[in-house]
Symmetry: C2
Subunit: 420 residues, 2 copies
Amino acid sequence: MYKCSLERMTDKIKTFSKFGATGNGGITRYSLSKEAIMARNEFKRRMEAIGAIIEVDDLANMYATLPGSDPNAKRIVMGSHVDSVKNGGNYDGILGVISAMEVLETIAEQKIPHKHPITAMIWTNEEGSLYPPAMMCSGIVCYDYLPDDIKEKFKEEDMMKSKSIIDGKTTFGEALEKSGFKGDRKYRLSPEKYLCMFETHIEQGPILEEAGNDIGVVDCVLGMFNYRLKFYGQAAHAGTFPMKKRKDAFYAASQALCYLHEEIDKLGYPDLVYTTGEVVCHPSVHTVIPDYFDFSFDARHEDPKVLEEVLAIVKSCANKAWAGCTCKVEKMWNRDTVYWDEKLVSYVKEAAEECGVSHQYIHSGAGHDAQFVAYMLPTTMIFVQSKNGLSHCEEEYSSPEQCTSGATVMLNAVLKADAE
Amino acid sequence: MYKCSLERMTDKIKTFSKFGATGNGGITRYSLSKEAIMARNEFKRRMEAIGAIIEVDDLANMYATLPGSDPNAKRIVMGSHVDSVKNGGNYDGILGVISAMEVLETIAEQKIPHKHPITAMIWTNEEGSLYPPAMMCSGIVCYDYLPDDIKEKFKEEDMMKSKSIIDGKTTFGEALEKSGFKGDRKYRLSPEKYLCMFETHIEQGPILEEAGNDIGVVDCVLGMFNYRLKFYGQAAHAGTFPMKKRKDAFYAASQALCYLHEEIDKLGYPDLVYTTGEVVCHPSVHTVIPDYFDFSFDARHEDPKVLEEVLAIVKSCANKAWAGCTCKVEKMWNRDTVYWDEKLVSYVKEAAEECGVSHQYIHSGAGHDAQFVAYMLPTTMIFVQSKNGLSHCEEEYSSPEQCTSGATVMLNAVLKADAE
């Protein structure tokens, strides 16, 4: 049983929190931005300092590898991302990178023997906050292994043309060229060169905190679907158009949202989550009745039958009259539940037990690069407790002790995989 | 009884519809934009052709005047605006300018005798679509005569600093300098030089069409209030945060909106209109529970007691729990009902009767430059039927015959004021 360093982890958390700091406790660090490049350079500097070999593939994914005793053995990789959402926190993504660095630093410092090369990795553009979609580069790298309906969303050619949501012009491909981090395709993660993958991540929910456990042994990523509900009304002047003749798309959407909550809550599934986070209102002028409104609908649950029941309710919105408006329900995407590799899950569980870290099994509600890798390599994840369950916001927090426990569990699980 | 020319009106409607045409039947013609300047130049060209004297004040308000027989008589002014909302129609505002031009053209062509000088006028920036607020320049010109609570919204100094909603940088003052239409303050509309004002405008509602009347004899502009309802929740990740702990600001706002409709509709006032047209959702990302949502609330009715009842319901939202979120209700502005000058209203009514134009009394639900002028000069308005009651959208339509009837009624009403 080996232990990671609380002091070194604390220093890394503090240092990386500076790259893109908003001044309000969080960060905005879009992929390939100058802030993200500062984080990449810090990663490179620290990994070179322990003698790791740095490789960068053609998608700017970065790999820092400590060689093992067997020159023919495949690599064990640990990784996550350094990019964030707008006004995000100091842990989502970056904690998985810091933890992977910490594992390599501990191995180097304590000269821990290992057969396989061990790699710490940065995935490019996991959030997709500037260049959608999320998990873009794991989608491209794992493309050949993905199910067909996911595949079609991650065609490399299309991804390169993804436009900046800020200027509506710059493409991801251009940002990649400009970043100075476009390397060689031959370095991409592949089953020929890599044995398995671990990703440490904050929970982003309140389950571990409520149960009083520091670490989650993740067994799956929940299945989900993402739809769009669109409401079509009629624009007219706020002061002159009688109420009884109005077709107000915002009011229609509000009625439908209340109906959705009412009907879905009747199903009574406590583990189900659903979210209507993205909103468009047109023309959004105080003197005009809105003629168009849409919102996203994202639902997640392990059991596909539960998701089917929810989807039936969502689809039923299209058949109803909402404040005189028509409604269209459009599918954006869905995914089935992805189960992690059983053997790797058991290594994480054993490592947590042996290290005396409080833990429990948990599902992942969020999507992560690891879930695309799971179609290609044996893969698993480790969760670290999130304070108040908050994430994708500046209040995101996990204590340095919990973060260090996460790294310690990953280190020992990696060594179990190495000894296999 | 004199008649305006259908042919000349049709030509003007067609010509002005080109300046800022969107290609979908409507226009986008922001104040002081190159499209608006094309409209101003056309106004100048046509008014100079009939011998009118052109004056431009320091706010770019334009005045074209035909002298009368009495050199000491005050002017009678007719006017409206040439600017539009985004994707607006070919009638809102511009019809009042075209009708004023048509009245002068008819007077010139038919050599109709009149004592007072008669002026056709363009008000700058009525919509406030690019540089808020609406009715900016009538607010500045009539400033000294406005009630205190309206006054404070129209300080000239503040107005000049109003920033473009497109680039967030250019100020109205800068746009004014750059336009080439900044004239002399001495030309501003004033009670020393002007006797009274008429404004012809489309109804922007379905009342005249339903009653089968071409023209509305407007008796007042409805009192109104504009509030903002703000909902504060907690951002968290869509996939990981249990439903029962969520504070979803969009859901909160939707519940409140349904509640508002339910409670206000119970009051049972058929003439009341209220609108929630402007919406802000933060962060508006499909994987994040919204932590902030707000919407505008605009209510209009002739009777201040009715507005008070509605306002009490709006304010009650702040005391309720909406999906775990808090709610703030903030006043933006309000105005009392403005009644038009009784004598001018009777001239319009008599003119419509004498010209055999179908007509009725009507309230104005929308705000117009005339309502600020009403604090300074005797003022009234004439409405022209709107097809399907639509306005502030590209479908806006009034037939050339109806538009010509409006001009004819205004011409004869102006001549009655002239003969007073």
